[in-house]
Symmetry: C2
Subunit: 272 residues, 2 copies
């Protein structure tokens, strides 16, 4: 199945637009996982099991694994999710971006080594830096467009061309109208800027949007859903990471995570 087919299936089956971000920070793990050699895998697998019927996607952030020499646990985690929670796409959040010959290597990393269903990619180097990813015709390629951090405005909000278009709008248009040769592209648009989320939705039609920034980053759920949903009430992967992962600190951390994930999914559904 293609990434967009998996995503559409998960939206429907779990009645959910919630993407569960897996940013495992061992310093925040419950005490009983301390000093376990595979603590990262076990923590993330427990979160996945507790939220698999509430999520439209899982999004492991590779930096948290790479900082701790835990690439093997990331491989094991994605394989574990594919086996135990089939139908939920796995987005590798890597934000890679490089010239074609190097992007080919990164695509091998993401799609062949880790077997991710989709990957996040940085558009700064332009179209030919994106094409090697698109050679994997079934895989999702999710381009950064308007990011949720304060510095996101430094470049993305610059007016380009005749001065009426912001850079993020240009990226949205290029991806939707030129680069998306596979039908598997999507965009990252932060929840912290609902007006800009609405503008992107206007530009890209029904293209899926990955929306970080609710929860720990402070984005507003009602404004996000109303600004970003498509006509049929889907089109969004609204990500929450820390608020779910670290909802509890005890042995029952996965139950606490489930409660927050459930409340978040339902809060989102209230406005679809």
């Amino acid at each position: 199945m293609t990434f967009t087919e998996l995503l559409a299936g998960a939206w429907q089956k779990n009645d959910s637009l919630l993407c569960v971000g897996l940013d495992p920070d061992p310093a925040k793990f419950p005490a009983h996982l301390e000093n376990q050699p595979d603590a990262i895998f076990r923590f993330c697998a427990a979160i996945a099991a507790a939220t698999a019927d509430l999520a439209c996607a899982f999004k492991p952030q590779i930096a948290y694994f790479a900082a701790r020499r835990a690439e093997d646990q990331l491989e094991a985690l994605i394989a574990h999710i594919h086996e135990n929670h089939p139908g939920i796409p796995v987005i590798l959040d890597a934000k890679r971006g490089d010239i074609g010959s190097t992007a080919e290597q990164y695509a091998i990393e993401a799609f062949e080594r880790y077997r991710a269903d989709a990957v996040t990619v940085n558009p700064y180097m332009g179209r030919d830096s994106v094409e090697p990813w698109l050679a994997y015709r079934d895989k999702g390629v999710i381009l950064l467009c308007r990011t949720s951090n304060p510095g996101g405005s430094d470049l993305q909000f610059q007016k380009v061309g005749a001065g009426k278009t912001a850079l993020y709008e240009l990226v949205a248009a290029k991806v939707a109208k030129e680069w998306n040769t596979t039908g598997q592209c999507a965009l990252v648009v932060g929840a912290t800027f609902p007006a800009e989320l609405a503008r992107v939705r206007e530009i890209v039609g029904d293209l899926p949007l990955l929306v970080p920034g609710i929860g720990a980053q402070g984005g507003d759920i009602e404004a996000t859903v109303k600004a970003g949903r498509t006509a049929n009430g889907t089109g969004l992967m609204i990500n929450s990471s820390r608020a779910i992962l670290y909802a509890g600190k005890g042995e029952d951390f996965a139950d606490a995570a489930r409660e927050v994930a459930l409340a978040t999914r339902d809060a989102i559904n209230r406005y679809r």
Copy 2:
């Protein structure tokens, strides 16, 4: 020592502006390295030994290691270079770029795990995505500015603001005048656009520039050096990867690499 001190020392000691890019592709390795479990390490270490008196920096590209589960060989390679070729800075070419909390993890990966002296970083997410790298006050942070690939123009050449400044010029000015709080920042500017290299040099004063695009990518050495050098004939790390690495295909591949590196260094020096 700081990154810029290491770099200045290597410029002088080796009379060289040549950066040797380590993009190890096992499909192109000489036959005697085939099926060796540590072939990537051995190949790169041999190239480093053959060029250590000709280079101002080594630049391993992490994608080539990550595509083959060879992070351990990358760690070993950088440690080996530090031990055997002290004084030559190692730039980890990773082009990372993410929100602050994630950038902190990537900085741990690059500077604590791999012990790189500098790293390449993507500016698309703006200033706060760069700050966690700058917390390592001695380390080099090399921001993408104007890249050497054809699609580099898609975003970087867009006119911003009142329409007189290209996006890459804005990035150059922001890095040189606002973001470079450590004095250890540098920029990536491709050799394929000498006029734009000259423009960046005009904007950033003596800031070091990492210049990919000569050799396999076709950039012209004379034009590059004349456009990018500083008043004292330094300021550049002119990268060559494939043309050096794969100069020979036999057991004497390192000798062949040395010949090309020597010729390239000397060709660069002709125009300093």
